[in-house]
């Protein structure tokens, strides 16, 4: 078996397993939109930790950065600076975003669920969530 065949097989097996688990999970229970989008708000601490760790340590951290340092050298030092400074910015911004999310207690699909009664609009907004999220600028005004 050639290396590319091995990697392709691995990818397809993992995708097939993910799809099968997803469908099996939905067979015996009735799911609403909240369960589909945010797991019924019932993710445990361990699962949340693993998800956040997966978000933070991307493929770039393991493969991209090292490969780039190997091929380009010195300029990749900037990675350490920008990652650190990103967290400095996050310290000030993320609590406020959390506050907005907590007080309004709505995910994006939730919001469109209440706002747009039509089922089709709800489905489109779920599928198109990223676009709407980008349009959703947070406006600050003094009180």
């Amino acid at each position: 078996m050639s290396p590319s065949a091995v990697s392709l097989t691995t990818i397809f097996v993992i995708v097939a397993m993910g799809v099968a688990i997803g469908f099996l999970a939905g067979v015996h229970r009735k799911m609403d939109l909240e369960q589909w989008t945010v797991g019924g708000r019932g993710f445990g601490a361990v699962l949340m930790f693993l998800l956040i760790a997966g978000e933070v340590y991307t493929t770039f951290a393991f493969l991209g950065a090292s490969g780039w340092a190997y091929s380009r050298g010195g300029p990749t030092l900037y990675i350490m600076a920008y990652l650190t400074l990103a967290y400095v910015v996050s310290f000030f911004i993320l609590p406020q975003i959390w506050e907005v999310g907590y007080r309004s207690s709505r995910e994006l699909a939730d919001a469109s669920n209440r706002r747009a009664r039509a089922r089709r609009a709800r489905m489109i907004s779920s599928a198109d969530g990223q676009t709407i999220e980008n349009r959703c600028s947070v406006r600050a005004e003094s009180a």
Binding site: A81, L85, V88, F91, P95, R115, C136, R139, A140
Partner: protein, 90 residues
Amino acid sequence: MSVATLRLAAGYNHRPVRVKKPSVGALLLGLIPFIAMCLSVSLWDRIEPMIFGLPFNLFWLIAWIVLSSLCMWAAYRVEVARDRKGSGVQ
């Protein structure tokens, strides 16, 4: 106590959510890592002296990863102290 009103401009939540602004002291503490790692590159971008076998600029960046954590810890203390003082007033 000054608060900022955040409102999602997309319009699905018309109730404004009030969030607190970070204090000036915390913002200044957050500015320190930016000055050290971003705005003063020409001051520390050199190979000599080697420290622990690392070129000086690499050592500087690694050192500031740790020192940035200290700055943010101090900023956190500033925010907590302000919250404790402000909670009675608000």
